[in-house]
Symmetry: C2
Subunit: 141 residues, 2 copies
Amino acid sequence: MASNQTIIVVGCGRLGSLLANRLSSLGSSVVVIDRAETAFENLSPEFSGFRVTGDAAELDVLRQARMEKAGCVLAITSHDNVNVMVAQVARTVFGVPTVMARVNDPSREAVYREFGIETICPTNLSAAAFLSALRGPGEAG
Amino acid sequence: MASNQTIIVVGCGRLGSLLANRLSSLGSSVVVIDRAETAFENLSPEFSGFRVTGDAAELDVLRQARMEKAGCVLAITSHDNVNVMVAQVARTVFGVPTVMARVNDPSREAVYREFGIETICPTNLSAAAFLSALRGPGEAG
């Protein structure tokens, strides 16, 4: 994506705030959306982006975040259903070029990918990390 | 760890059940602990290990799982505090050689490592995966 395009982060929990802080510190223009204003307390004092308080399941909230101008949307609330809905709306209604969604339920990941949404599954990533740390269970060591 | 030693998985949610199923299918001897018996519904029909229903914060429950004989304990409930407590007890009370804990809060990870507990942080893993998928935000693409 072009460097002057905004990245919208939907969900400002642990993962959302970590990403928003990181992207902002890397020089990206960031907009964070969360239903709870208290969630923005997770943002670092250096965060230079915008905060939009509201339910990302409502089109007006996404318009307020100027999603039609965004180069990228990261849908990473803790609710898989919200994430896939926001991701689909970002693609089909707002034509956002890069859309990624957090999907906690590994069994849903394949379905979401069929919709053309790039997914990150914390459960699968963590399972792989544990198995890798065990260095092949059953091996001597 | 030796191949004949048991792996105890504490917490049978999405991540716990995924790991228990995977380790069992790889031939490991697995014991799963969860407070809620319904959690065991996440286990596959092929899961060949043992299920212990109970609060892993209680020593009697850990004894019932025969933790003193375990080669490895994975503390991966959704509660960081429970995980670190179980991990410490596994090391200090039961002398388990390999202990790993899931830690959702990235800011706690360093503290837990000071206790000698290997940690896996789903939040950090996911953030890194999103950033990697963005291929360096700010770059043309």
